[in-house]
Every structure is written in structure tokens, then in C-alpha cells.
Symmetry: C2
Subunit: 396 residues, 2 copies
């Protein structure tokens, strides 16, 4: 048996080697950037008008001029014009390039235009006002985004702005999600009284889906020979195998020995935690990584969010800061192991308050519908008091 | 001009009428449930063994018996067996139905089996221990999930458990995302010095994509006739139109008048906020809803997360609790309008601390890469102090 800390450290020292793939930028949201993105030009690329109004020469304003005759219009998308005569102005539109010779923009609400002349109605004008200066946001060739960034809509727009119509992202490993247990029937089947439907593998598959990670669902019977056969085939074709069930002490829990028989070396079996104590982890010589999780639904789910998701993110260089939350109600737990407490979390005045969810044993998914995540309670204490802060693993 | 509160209230009182669609349960993650899900049977459906070990009759233990002869094995997936003789026990596996006549499970670690007899090594046994009682999580026909729930992986597993292989979810409205502005060129093009690439529409499209909402991208030239023509076609074929640009006071800002000309009634134009003051909102007689946002990238982005996303969620009945965060640094803003401050947010001991991001004017997306969201600062004050709590609109 290893501690939660040891288990994490072993898992995180067996990362996968991600391959690269090129995708259309508009498809890249929620994927992880694999290349460095530099500014192809200054941003903004020119002194850009940021209000509709008139562009003037500031020295002329300083010299006392308040009335400027309108020489021309500089609309967005027009080639740069020139303020020929400093006593003139150009009407300028938001997004337009600032005409040469002009260095301040007075918005329409602060002027009056009559008979081709604009009168400025305000008392204060600043040099460069309402002009978004060339290079203010970023200089040409400066680094905008580094590999390992999880691309959000803001970054997709930035890729568009620099003309990255195709972008390199990390490909996630090919993954089999495998249930075992003879009590399990297919979702569309009507179970016998002693049977239940498969659900763990779909929980994992959809959790992966929300990350843009695809997984293929399999099922193994509790029969050693058939299990061996199928696991052999799966381990030959997938980078990663996530198993659920068959790792405990039962007489038909063949998973650990079958995995070792097909050449997956055990790195740990059993973690000092509740739920999910029987968690098994191993790798093969050729690099297949196997997470064998207990079959209990909540255990499977906790292990995915506590170990597998952070492991994937580390493998592709995403910084995955641990969240924290505040225990909102006293809780006691006697047992020298890490306890993953099911909690419902409320944002109360900016503070994440974690309320223990009653009846949150390591049960079924019916339990989890009011749960937002797990609070990781350390093993060295028994009483956990309102107001204490612990790591929080959300799953919504 | 309306206040932010008035704008919200007008937007939220023009929800769309969602259609229903049926999808395979495994595809339903991040979609919004449109039907009530009831338990098709008790959960667990039978008294379920939750540890590998032996099942005994508790009265026999109470009467002093510590050695039980092993009668048989009850594995997971086997039909229910019976403890024929109370002095006997059955080996039972996690997930198995508890044999009739048995009412407590002693795990393997607490027993020793020799020559077909199990000796209990511990001093304390509870009635019903290590048995997950039938109906403990949910009773048959009880409501498990209600319409309006955003389906997370936990709910997908629950749908699997109750055999909902197909499930009714809300279909999101067909949506056109339309940019305007003659300065804009396509992403794959090399802009002239006075041009920039389109990015706003892709920011919105990918923000929608993360919600499972599809949008089609269009572009309009700053030409009144062509704009009218295209807007007519778009408003005939889409439920929702999100425009970016052309709503300000510029000479080529034809969007508001073109929209009114095709029969979209203005409900407001201009909101007392920064950024995104020129925000325009309207509806047509046949129910087309139009959000016309200012073309400034950050304005567009803010409006999407502050108005459009909550509007969509309300339309399909999702509860969308406002988040809050704590200002981490004093900030001043003189101007009697709501200021959406760009912030980077850290979880510090469970508290969401919002740090103002420098240079966060209503600029380009290059600005937003270090920003996590907007803090909504009310209009009635000028000084905002460290430690004060404000609504927080995250976009990551």
C-alpha cells in the first residue's frame, strides 16, 4: 500500500509522450497548444482610432484653435490619409488608421459639426486621446502564447488575429475504458434482479469528452481466460487503458494478475485512501499506461479527477493549480487514511464553501447528483473544523 | 440609454422557446436535460455486498459463534443464493446480491479461512455492515433529475444506470454570428497596413462551442445596400443573430437602421457600461432575437458572457448562480457607469481573489490572455477597495 502522495508522485512520473496534431484554429478550443505563437505584426498594427469623431493636430488645439474645418473622412478599412493642413480635421471612425499628422481624436459627443466645420465643445483634450497606439498590446515578433496553454475562446480569437488558420496542438493518447464484472449489463438492457447496468465507463468517457479526449468503451467478463485474451488485444492497440473493477480482494478479481501476465508491470496496488483503496497502476515496457480503478462508481469517478485528469494535463504541460475550498461544517473521520469527502460547494461572497453531502459513502451515481466535487482531507487528523481549508477537486 | 440592470431585465424577458431533441445518452454531456428522469428501480436495486468476504447471520454472531463453515460462493452477477444453515456462511464478492438469510458481511482482512471454515478475527460486528441496502440511494419511481440540469459526467452515468439510452435535451437556437467592418479581412489573408483580421466572431463561436451551441460565421461589408440584403437573408433563416460592430456613432454604422428596416424592433440601444456602451438589442415579430454588440473585441467578449450566455441558460431553465470574487487591489474609476474590470483570479485559501489587469482598456484579444474574467463594479462609487466583493464573470 502506498500513500496518496506516493501514488500521485508515481503516476506523475509516468507521463505519456504526446504526439502533435494540426487542427483548424476554430476547432482548437479546449485543446492544448503545442507551439509558440508570436505576433506577426504589432498589435494594434497601426495607431488605431478608438472612438468615432474627428482627428486633429494636438499642437493646434494647444495653440487655442477650437474650430477645425472638416477636410475628409477616414473610415475603418480605408488606406491611411493625411491631415494636410493642421487647421483642418478629418472625420474618423472607430477601427480606422489614424491619419498622418493627427494625434488626438475628439468624439462626436464632444463636438458640433455645422457647414463643414467642427467646433470642439469641451475644455480638456489630451495628446493621443482615443487613439489605441500601434504596438500597445504587443510588439511584432513578441511571444503571445506558449505551448501548454489550454486554449480558451480568448486565445482562439488571438490565433485568428495573428493569422494562425491552422495550429499545432497536443494529441491526447488513444484510450480504452474497460469495465469488468459479471453483474453488469448494457445500458439498453433490462437487468435481472441481481444485475445492474454499466455506468462507470460512461462517466469516465463523458468526463474525457468534456476535455476533448476520446475514449473507447469495452467490457470484460469475470472469466480469467476471456479477460486475458481481451486485455492482450486492448493493450496492443491503445496507449492508455483505464479499467474499472476487478482490482479488489474478491475471488474473481483477476485484473491485477491478468495485467501482469500481459506485461504490465505493477507500480502500486492499493492506496491509503477512501474511497478507492484498491487502485492499481502500472506500465508496460512499450509504454502502455494502465490505471485500474475500483469498480465502485464514486471510487472510479474520484480517481479520474484526482489522478488521471491532472496526469493528462501534466503530460501536455498544462499548469493545473490545485483549487482549495473552505469546510463549511464540522466533520469527523477516524481512520488513518486520506478521506475524499463528497461536498456541495457554494461561492459565498467570493469564498468557496464546501458542505459535506450526507450519505456520501462510496456508493452509486445517484449519490453524486448533489455533489460538486471532493474535499481532500489529510490522514493525520480526525476532526475537521468549520473554516479549515483543504484541497478541492471539482467535477462540474 | 439604459442601465445594466435594465438591459439585463429586457434581455432576460425575451427568452427563446427551446425545441427538444433526442440524443444518445453518451453524447449528452454538457447539454441541458429536457425531461424528468425517475429511478426505474430501487438504487441499489438489491441489498448489495460492498466488500469481498463472508456473509453471515448476525444473530448467530451475537449468540457467540466465531467460526462459520463456508457453504458456497455468491459472486457478483450470480442469482441470489440462500444461507441455508445459520451456522454457515457464504463467501461474497463486492457487487453481489446479499444471500437470503445473511445480514452482515465480514471482509477477508478480518477473517481467516482454513479447511472450508472461516474464523472471524475481530471483536465488533454491526448488523448490516458492508451491505449497501436496497433503495438507500433512491427509491423506485423517485425523481432523480429534473429538466434544466446541465448534464455533467455524473449525470451521464446516472442516465446509464436507469437505462436511459436516449434522452431528451433542449436544442439550442440556430445562430448566426455576424461581423461587420471594412477593415476586417479573413484569417488566412495577409492584411494591408490599415486592415486587421476577423477575430470577434471566432471568439463568440468558440465560446458557444464550449457550451455545445453551434453558430455560423458571416461577414457584412460597411455598405448599406449589401448589408440590408444579407441581414434580410440571415434573419429569415436563423433564430438568433449575434452581430459584432457597426452599432456606434460612426458614419458607416448602419447596423441599427438596417436591423429596424428588416423588421427587428429595437428594445434598447446603448447601455450605461464600459466597455460596450453601444450594445443594441431587438426582436422581430416572428421572434428572431438580435444582439448587436460593439465591434471592439473585449466589448464583444464581455457582452457574450454577461448577457448572452446567461440568457441562453435562462431560456433552457438552467440555474446560473452569479459568482463573486474579492477585489485584491484598490481600484479607482470615475464615471457614473458600470465598469467591467478585467481581472486575473487566484484561488487563495478558498477565496477567489481578483487582481486588476493593467492596460485592460477595451482593446484587443492580445490583452485578454492574462485575464480570467470581468469584475462588475457598480456605477455609484469611484473607489473600490481591497477586500470588497463584486459579481465576477469568468470566461475560462
Amino acid at each position: 500500500m502506498v500513500s496518496v502522495e506516493e501514488a500521485s508522485s508515481i503516476v506523475f512520473s509516468h507521463l505519456f509522450e504526446p504526439r502533435l496534431e494540426t487542427v483548424a484554429f476554430a476547432e482548437a478550443v479546449d485543446k492544448v497548444l503545442a507551439e509558440t505563437i508570436v505576433a506577426d505584426r504589432d498589435f494594434p498594427p497601426f495607431d488605431r482610432v478608438s472612438m468615432d469623431g474627428i482627428a486633429i493636430s494636438f499642437v493646434e488645439w494647444e495653440a487655442g484653435r477650437r474650430i477645425f474645418s472638416v477636410q475628409d473622412i477616414q473610415a475603418a478599412g480605408m488606406k491611411q490619409k493625411s491631415l494636410g493642413d493642421r487647421q483642418h480635421c478629418l472625420e474618423v471612425m472607430t477601427g480606422a488608421i489614424l491619419p498622418t499628422g493627427a494625434d488626438a481624436v475628439i468624439p462626436y459627443e464632444d463636438i458640433e459639426i455645422n457647414d463643414g466645420s467642427a467646433t470642439i465643445l469641451i475644455e480638456k483634450v489630451r495628446l493621443g486621446q482615443n487613439v489605441h497606439k500601434q504596438g500597445q498590446d504587443a510588439k511584432a515578433l513578441s511571444v503571445l502564447l506558449e505551448p501548454g496553454i489550454l486554449l480558451s475562446p480568448a486565445e482562439i480569437a488571438l490565433l485568428a488575429a495573428v493569422g494562425k488558420s491552422n495550429v499545432q496542438v497536443f494529441a491526447y493518447p488513444s484510450t480504452a475504458i474497460v469495465s469488468s464484472g459479471d453483474e453488469l449489463v448494457a445500458v439498453q438492457d433490462t437487468p435481472e434482479p441481481h444485475q445492474i447496468r454499466r455506468s462507470n465507463t460512461f462517466a469516465i468517457q463523458s468526463a474525457m469528452k468534456t476535455m476533448g479526449w476520446e475514449g473507447t468503451v469495452w467490457h470484460l467478463p469475470d472469466n480469467r481466460e476471456q479477460m486475458l485474451d481481451t486485455v492482450k488485444r486492448i493493450s496492443a492497440s491503445f496507449d492508455i487503458i483505464i479499467l474499472s473493477g476487478g482490482v479488489s480482494k474478491g475471488r474473481f478479481d483477476f485484473v491485477p494478475e491478468v495485467l501482469e501476465e500481459v506485461g504490465i508491470t505493477k507500480l502500486f496496488h492499493r492506496v491509503n485512501q477512501r474511497p478507492a483503496k484498491p487502485f492499481w497502476f502500472g506500465v508496460s515496457k512499450k509504454g502502455t499506461i494502465v490505471f485500474a480503478l475500483p469498480g465502485n462508481p464514486v471510487s472510479t469517478f474520484m480517481c479520474f479527477y484526482r489522478y488521471i485528469k491532472p496526469w493528462l494535463f501534466r503530460s501536455v504541460g498544462v499548469k493545473n493549480n490545485t483549487m482549495k475550498a473552505v469546510l463549511a461544517k464540522d466533520f469527523s473521520f477516524a481512520g488513518s487514511l486520506v478521506y475524499f469527502l463528497q461536498v456541495s460547494v457554494q461561492n459565498e461572497n467570493g469564498m468557496l464553501m464546501a458542505y459535506p453531502v450526507e450519505g456520501g459513502g462510496s456508493g452509486d451515481f445517484a449519490n453524486l447528483k448533489n455533489v460538486d466535487g471532493f474535499l481532500e482531507l489529510p490522514s493525520h487528523k480526525e476532526k475537521f473544523l468549520t473554516g479549515e481549508v483543504f484541497p478541492y477537486i471539482p467535477f462540474r
